[in-house]
């Protein structure tokens, strides 16, 4: 196991990148702490697989360094880095048995047979593969194959990190949950450094202790699931995480009040109280508030037009417009939704202010 440090890392697939937009991965400095479970979350094409392949050594970064426990491995080939990677589509050696599949990386490294057998037994027990050891890998289900590719990584005791590249994509929904639980249990028990790439926020938030959110080749926020939910650092994090995502409204901020101008009628503006005062904001200013921190009532707040109500079981999602801007409100089971003349209030403590997409942090915090 190792601590992985990325220093000024950036990558472009073009031979001579000019501007920043040529980079699939924009400059990044980060330390992956030893033994933590990370999720790398982002939409397709945001550079998360590129980052993973750089860490595993399948791609050499255009600039910057990678250190494993302080040792520079930027130019080291995959084999020397001692990492394990589980791919999107299960990779197994079809013609070999499950046992031989698990033993494969050890035999390639020239371990004595007795030690190989012992490790294979141990890993098979961990993953629940013990009773299919002598079967051929070819005919197995996708989830069993994924367990084998995971096992090929775990069988090596000196493995520095386990990397997962959307490993549950081809797994049946009911097995997904089981495998994820098993992964978490393995992490708790053995404490491998794990990096898990996914575009599925549920997977990321349930698996990881820290989530790294990427957007257009840039890391926009690193935090615990709770931090991402309560204090998104970027509007992208706001609407990518959460279901539905954060409401983002264009606004002008004066002191501790934000004025949201009506989209249809230029003269009208709605005042939204903020948790604290802001000054000297530059660029495109927006406010963001999660649907969970908005409340509908008949009496107080800003007038909204309710367009649709979706009942999702535990709560309802109210789709509405505020001065022509679409907003979502989450209403609890018992809460009444006014039939006409509904009004909305936002919890001032949870209204964030964003300038050019980035959260404006309190300088005193």
């Amino acid at each position: 196991m190792a601590q992985i440090t990325l220093e000024g890392l950036a990558h472009s697939y073009l031979p001579n990148p000019r501007g920043e937009e040529d980079y699939a991965l924009k400059e990044l400095n980060h330390v992956w702490a030893d033994g933590e479970a990370y999720a790398l979350l982002g939409a397709s094409g945001c550079g998360k697989t590129t980052l993973l392949n750089i860490i595993s050594g399948l791609v050499r970064p255009s600039q910057g360094r990678i250190l494993f426990d302080g040792q520079d491995v930027t130019d080291a080939p995959t084999a020397e880095r001692n990492i394990a990677q589980v791919f999107q589509f299960p990779v197994v050696y079809d013609t070999l048995t499950v046992r031989d599949n698990l033993a494969f990386p050890l035999r390639n490294r020239g371990l004595p047979a007795a030690q190989v057998a012992e490790r294979v037994q141990a890993v098979a027990r961990m993953l629940g593969l013990s009773d299919m050891l002598s079967r051929r890998a070819r005919g197995l289900t996708a989830d069993a194959k994924q367990k084998i590719s995971l096992g090929r990584g775990m069988v090596r005791q000196d493995v520095n990190a386990l990397l997962f590249d959307e490993p549950l994509t081809v797994i049946d929904p009911h097995m997904k949950w089981e495998l994820r639980t098993q992964l978490k249990a393995l992490h708790r028990e053995f404490g491998h450094t794990m990096i898990y790439v996914t575009h599925d926020q549920t997977e990321a938030l349930t698996f990881a202790t820290r989530v790294v959110v990427m957007h257009e080749g840039r890391v926009v926020q690193i935090g615990t699931p709770q931090e991402l939910f309560e204090r998104p650092a970027h509007t992208f994090v706001g609407y990518f995480i959460g279901s539905p995502g954060m409401n983002v409204l264009p606004a002008q901020v004066e002191g501790n009040v934000a004025l949201v101008e009506s989209a249809g009628d230029a003269g009208t503006a709605y005042a939204v109280p903020l948790g604290r005062g802001y000054e000297g904001l530059a660029g495109r200013v927006e406010i963001g508030v999660r649907p969970e921190f908005a409340r509908l009532s008949a009496t107080e707040g800003l007038p909204v037009t309710v367009t649709r109500i979706e009942d999702v079981g535990r709560h309802r999602i109210v789709r509405a417009t505020l001065g022509g801007h679409p907003i979502n409100v989450v209403a609890g089971e018992g809460e009444a939704i006014p039939a006409a003349d509904a009004k909305v209030t936002f919890d001032p403590g949870h209204v964030g202010v964003f300038a050019d997409g980035w959260r404006v942090e309190d300088p005193l915090r």
């Binding site: 399948l58 080939p77 995959t78 990677q85 791919f87 013609t95 494969f104 990386p105 051929r136």
Partner: protein
């Protein structure tokens, strides 16, 4: 609506007619000849399995079959490994990959008798580049006189003509292997040989079965090229089954024995191909179940 309407059978009629004219009727004329004898004047007499019996006791035919099996065996043993080796070493993408593919496909586009003519001239001692060069090097090479030289010439010609087919099929099989397999192999520190043995070969297996089947059937039926190069000689040394069949049917006009022989020839190819295919697919299935 009636659940069963037998008029639907009329929909099958076009196919029946087509198959009848393209396969069944021509085949039946051969069957017809194989069980009858004629002394001319368009009079035919029933001969039962007489011709088949004759053919099964014909030393000439057994010899031709022996040569045929030897030939197919040799060219498969050379072309399959060579084709795989070429496919493994072809460029993966870009200009050179396209160029390779075009160059590889060229021999496949040349008509059989032209291939035969090319090699017939190429190998001649008096004017052929190969033959003349070998003679100039002091080698006693002459495919019209020496049995071994004739065989070598024909085998090399077939390898030149058809290895591309196996290489192209194997190449297609290799290209369909996802990158993740190679990446996983690197992470597992697999050797080049292990990558071939446990990833590439199993993934190519399907196309290789097809390639071997095609090459077996085609080489087993070979006629034009050896006929043009050696005419079946020297002596009968390169008289393969179909060359012998033509001698029998058109040279000696023994239509009855030739028809019986044709049917057995056809059945042998069908049987071997079917057996090979069944064994390969059954192995596949057993693998999957185990």
């Amino acid at each position: 609506m009636k659940p069963v309407d037998n008029r639907a059978w009329f929909l099958v009629l076009p196919v029946l007619v087509l198959v009848a004219f393209s396969a069944v009727i021509p085949l039946m004329t051969v069957v017809n000849y194989s069980v009858q004898d004629s002394f001319g004047a368009n009079e035919f007499f029933w001969n039962g399995i007489g011709w088949f019996d004759d053919m099964l006791h014909s030393e000439r035919m057994w010899n031709a079959l022996g040569r045929q099996i030897l030939f197919s065996g040799i060219i498969l043993a050379i072309e399959v490994p060579l084709g795989i080796f070429i496919a493994l070493n072809m460029p993966k993408k870009g200009f050179w990959a396209s160029l390779c593919l075009v160059l590889m496909a060229l021999p496949l586009l040349i008509p059989w008798n032209v291939v035969g003519t090319i090699w017939q001239i190429f190998g001649r001692v008096d004017i052929g580049l190969l033959g003349h060069a070998l003679a100039a090097l002091g080698m006693d090479y002459n495919y019209t006189r020496d049995v071994l030289d004739a065989w070598v010439t024909i085998v090399v010609m077939d390898v030149w003509h058809w290895t591309s087919l196996i290489a192209l099929l194997a190449y297609a099989g290799l290209r369909s292997i996802p990158d993740a397999y190679y990446q996983a192999a690197r992470i597992d520190q697999a050797s080049r040989w292990a990558v071939f043995r446990y990833i590439e070969l199993p993934k190519m297996r399907g196309v290789l079965v097809i390639a071997i089947l095609l090459r077996f059937m085609d080489s087993f039926m070979i006629y034009t090229e050896p006929f043009v190069v050696t005419g079946g000689g020297p002596g009968n040394a390169t008289t393969f089954l179909s060359i012998d069949l033509v001698k029998l049917a058109l040279g000696q006009f023994d239509l009855g024995p030739a028809a019986a022989f044709s049917l057995m020839y056809f059945l042998v190819i069908l049987l071997v191909s079917w057996a090979f295919y069944t064994v390969m697919t059954n192995l596949d299935r057993e693998d999957a179940q185990r």
